[in-house]
Structure formats: structure tokens, C-alpha cells
Amino acid sequence: MLMDPAFGRVIARWREGDRDAFEEVVDRYGLQLLRTARLILRDEALAEDAIQETFLKAWQRIGSLHDEDPGPWLTRIAMNESISTYRRRHRFQALTERFGRLGGGKHGVSSEARLDLAHALDQLTAEQRAAVALHYYQDLSVEETAQALEVPIDTVKSRLKTGLRRLRELTGSEEASA
């Protein structure tokens, strides 16, 4: 993706170790990355940790950024960090999710247990939330979402399909649409 020349000069200064230039990059991309991380992690403090790590890694790895817009590159790092952070901090929850899945196929949701969308999103896996956040919040295409998550396109399609089905179940939208 092409960059405007002025921002290209900022990136060039960053490559030379200019911390002020790097902070301009933080200003430009930080808020959207933080919002996306928060949608995935469901926790403000964890999201801030993930984005802090994202930018510190970006600072160290500027050599791996080729002549391109740093946005998608930063998003890839942020998604990795967000999912890794979630896994590290929610190992126990991940285990229970796994046992839950082993315990049985489709989870019906009674009318009484219908959740609002916020709570329904809590029930998705971090990987599903990442796909949903990139596709529906950042408005990335399936292909761009796959690149950001560094997974095959079919994996993204599957995560989106499974995630949406689960959200419909949890919010009762499936019943409403039937």
C-alpha cells in the first residue's frame, strides 16, 4: 500500500531511530489498534498491555517493515499480541472452553439465557473475536483479515461463520429470524 510522501518521511526518520517520528506513528495508529485489541480481549488493561508490546516490538523490528504502509504490519503484530495475551492470561478459561466443547456439540440457549451482544461476544474464542473485530469493526475484507491474522482465508471464513452462528444463538437472533 502506498504512503503519502510526508508520512513516508516520518517512517524514514523512525528507521533512523528518531523517537519523535515513532511517536507520530503511535499517534496515527494507536487508538484504532487499542480499540480493536479491547474488542478482542474484553479488558482495558489487557488491551493496553497488548498494544504497549505491539509498539515496543514494532520499534525493535522496524527493519522487517518494507516499503509499505505500516498499518497492516502493525495490525498483524497487534493481533498476534492480543491473542497471545489472551491465551497467557486466560489459560484456565481456555481449558474450560475446551472441556465445554468436548462436552457436546451444539449449545442450545434458552430464552431466559439470551444475552446482549456485549455478553455474547465474551463467549466467543479470542480467535473468533479477532476475525469478527477486523471484519466488522475495521471493515477489512476476508482476505485482509486473513493476512492480519496470518491464517488461511478458509480459516477466517470458518471463524466468522462459527462466531456469528454462536452470537445468533446466544442473543436469540436465530429464533427471531426463523
Binding site: 511517536e23 479491547r38 493496553e48
Partner: protein, 404 residues
């Protein structure tokens, strides 16, 4: 129906995301700290190994050619002794500024007498490059704390204010509020000229120290290798000393409005809902340039002047809040005006960067408006004394900047 669900989901995600309204200042600070140059102590093993290899190499060379010892000892002397300035720098009886726009951490402050050479010395040690700094001389040892606005009087009868932009204090892990092993917050060397050094501000990467002097003295500033900023203050008896700046004689018409002072000012109160900035005006009048900040209370609230500090500085360089980005205004000196409990985000529709080119006030620009802390800067053509007036109906803070 599926489209409706996806639209609802998209709307919900946007609403939820926008609950995070801004990139948090604390996170920006954590990232900034993370990319700061590391303390040299972390490289100790590598440096020790390198040093050992150099010593072995020197021993081998010395065995082959004994004269190499003289060359090496001369070089080592050059490394361990404070590097002299390329040309001897004079003591100046004026405000000074310098440094770079890098981010740095202050690790130590030291003071010592150099009585034989006619000065007292303070050394500020940093990791990273020396940050942007400015040094202003004042006629009293009373300073205004940033950001509380409280006044503090140090030992002595005159003062220096040293402000660093883009600087933090090295704060090793310790109980909240303490910095064990960090630089002292109040040092009282009680030397001939330098009586006391106290931290008077550490707010949004603006780090400020007040220095109490026994009398008004001229100053030499040296930026040495290894990120050391040295302030040499002449001891009494030096022929080069002149008094710190004092107000010019005022016009009779202005006398009724109060005296000008070459000091920082503070006042107002931080109570109740944030006051709303409605206007910023700048104009020249006989003997002074006037900057007016006009405020209105929120609905149902009582009008008051928000707590403020007006800080003089020796350059027109400022730092934006909260981005920390440097900004340079027109002029060679400045005023930094900070209000606590005030905002113009929704109430102020005027220009946030006014280039006025008056006799002294050259430019007035908003530096920040975040979490009810509103800050503006003024670029001045020369260091000037000021006075502040708190006026009602409408609620106004007036800053008069004395003109020649």
C-alpha cells in the same frame, strides 16, 4: 434478516470501540519509556569483557613498544576527566536554553564547590541525550510548583529555574511516591552560591527544578559527554555578575494595575465543574502586551478563575499535551500557561494558534486540552516580566507581558 444481524453487530462493535475515546496518556508514556535508551548497567558484562580484551591488547602492544603506555594513559585521561568545552564558555547574565527534543531520564543530581575556580557546580545526569532545557534567572528564591501552583521558597535570596521538556525521573521500584536511589527531590548543598536545589515540577514530561542562590549570579551551562548537563554558578566577587532581571519602570497608567514581576505566577481555584474557555484575546497596550483568557461556568455552576500557573521560560519551545510532541513558536522566550479544571473543547471556537507579532508577544497557541487540564503557550520576542489580573464579569485571567 442475516444482514440486519450483521448490521447490528457492526454498530455494536463501533459503539463498544468508541468507549475508548482517546489513546491513554499513561500508555503513551509507557511506550515512550520502553523505547528510551537502556541504562548502561545492563551492558555491564559485555563492557567488562570488552575492557578485558582492550587491556590484553594494550599489554601486548606495550611489550612490543613501551612508548604506547604514554599514548594510552593520555587517552584514558581524556575519557575519564570531564571533557572541556571546545572553547572556554563565558558566564552569562541572561536566560539560556538548549538540549534536543529527545526523551531522557534524569538519574542523578550532584552539587559541589569549585571555590578555587570561582564557581559552584551542579551536574544533572541523564540516560539518553540531554533533553530540551531552559534556564531562567529570577530575582527571588520563590518558585511556583507545577502543576499545583503552590509557592515554595528555597534557601537564598535569588533563583534559577531549570525546566526540562521530554524528561522523566529515574524511579526504581519503591513504595508509592518514593524514588529510592533516584535523584534527590530536595538537595541543600549550602555552597557559596548554590544554596538549595528542589524539584518543583514533574508533570507530563516537563521536569522543573528551582535553584536557590545566595545572590543573583551569572551562569555558565555546559553540555558534556555522557549526557551530563552542568550548571556553573559564579561565586560572589566575580566581576561579571549582574542582577537577575527585574521589572522595567512601569508607566504611571499601569501602576494601578499592580507591579510586574520577573517570576512565575499562580492563582485561581480548582473547585466545581470545569470552567469553559470561551475566548482568547491578545493586544498591545502602552507598556505591555495583554493576553486574556475568558471563561464561562457550566450551567448551574459558579463562575471562578480556574487554578493556573504562568511559567516563564528561556525559549519558545514547548511540548504538546498529551502527545508530547515538540512545538516551537515564534520568538526566543516563552510563557507556559496551565489551567487545572478548565477546558475549551466544546466552548471555544476561536483560533488555537494566533500569530500576533506584537512588540513582545509573537504567538499564542494551545498546547493541550485533556482531562480538564488546559494549557497554552506564548512565544515572546524577548524574556519579559509579567503580571496577572483575575477579573470578574466575565471571568477573565489577564496576563500582561511587559514591553520595552
Amino acid at each position: 434478516m442475516s444482514d440486519d444481524f450483521e448490521k447490528n453487530l457492526r454498530d455494536h462493535l463501533h459503539r463498544e470501540a468508541e468507549e475508548t475515546r482517546e489513546f491513554p496518556r499513561r500508555l503513551r508514556g509507557r511506550i515512550r519509556d520502553g523505547i528510551a535508551p537502556r541504562a548502561r548497567a545492563r551492558m555491564a558484562p559485555q563492557l567488562a569483557l570488552a575492557g578485558a580484551l582492550v587491556l590484553v591488547a594494550i599489554a601486548v602492544l606495550a611489550f612490543r613498544n613501551p612508548t604506547i603506555i604514554n599514548v594510552v594513559t593520555t587517552s584514558i585521561k581524556g575519557l575519564i576527566e570531564p571533557s572541556p568545552s571546545p572553547t572556554p564558555q563565558p558566564f552569562l547574565c541572561q536566560d539560556q536554553s538548549g538540549g534536543s527534543s529527545s526523551v531522557a531520564t534524569l538519574t542523578n543530581i550532584r552539587a559541589a564547590s569549585h571555590a578555587g575556580d570561582g564557581y559552584d557546580r551542579i551536574v544533572f545526569d541523564f540516560t539518553g541525550a540531554i533533553p530540551s532545557w531552559d534556564l531562567t534567572r529570577q530575582e527571588s528564591p520563590t518558585f511556583v510548583r507545577d502543576a499545583s501552583g503552590q509557592q515554595v521558597t528555597l534557601d537564598g535570596s535569588a533563583g534559577l529555574k531549570l525546566a526540562f521538556r521530554g524528561a522523566d525521573v529515574y524511579a526504581p521500584t519503591g513504595p508509592a511516591g518514593s524514588t529510592p536511589g533516584g535523584p534527590p527531590t530536595d538537595l541543600q548543598p549550602r555552597l557559596t552560591s548554590i544554596r538549595e536545589i528542589a524539584q518543583i515540577g514533574n508533570f507530563e514530561h516537563q521536569l522543573t527544578y528551582g535553584i536557590g542562590l545566595s545572590s543573583s549570579q551569572c551562569v555558565r551551562v555546559l553540555q558534556l559527554t555522557n549526557s551530563r548537563l552542568v550548571i556553573d554558578v559564579a561565586t560572589s566577587g566575580s566581576a561579571s555578575t549582574t542582577a537577575a532581571p527585574t521589572p522595567l519602570p512601569t508607566q504611571p497608567a499601569a501602576t494601578d494595575l499592580g507591579a510586574f514581576g520577573c517570576l512565575d505566577h499562580s492563582g485561581g481555584t480548582n473547585s466545581g465543574p470545569a470552567m469553559q474557555l470561551t475566548a482568547v484575546r491578545v493586544a498591545h497596550q502602552t507598556g505591555f502586551d495583554r493576553i486574556v483568557f475568558e471563561f464561562a461556568p457550566q450551567a448551574g455552576a459558579t463562575a471562578h478563575i480556574p487554578a493556573y500557573t504562568v511559567s516563564r521560560q528561556a525559549s519558545a519551545k514547548f511540548v504538546k499535551d498529551p502527545s508530547g510532541l515538540p512545538v516551537t513558536m515564534r520568538g526566543s522566550a516563552g510563557l507556559r500557561i496551565v489551567f487545572h479544571g478548565a477546558s475549551g473543547a466544546t466552548s471555544y471556537s476561536g483560533s488555537r494558534d494566533q500569530i500576533v507579532n506584537l512588540p513582545v508577544v509573537q504567538e499564542v497557541e494551545q498546547l493541550g486540552d485533556f482531562e480538564a487540564v488546559l494549557s497554552w503557550g506564548a512565544g515572546l520576542s524577548q524574556p519579559s516580566c509579567i503580571r496577572t489580573l483575575e477579573l470578574p464579569n466575565p471571568t477573565r485571567l489577564v496576563i500582561d507581558v511587559q514591553t520595552p
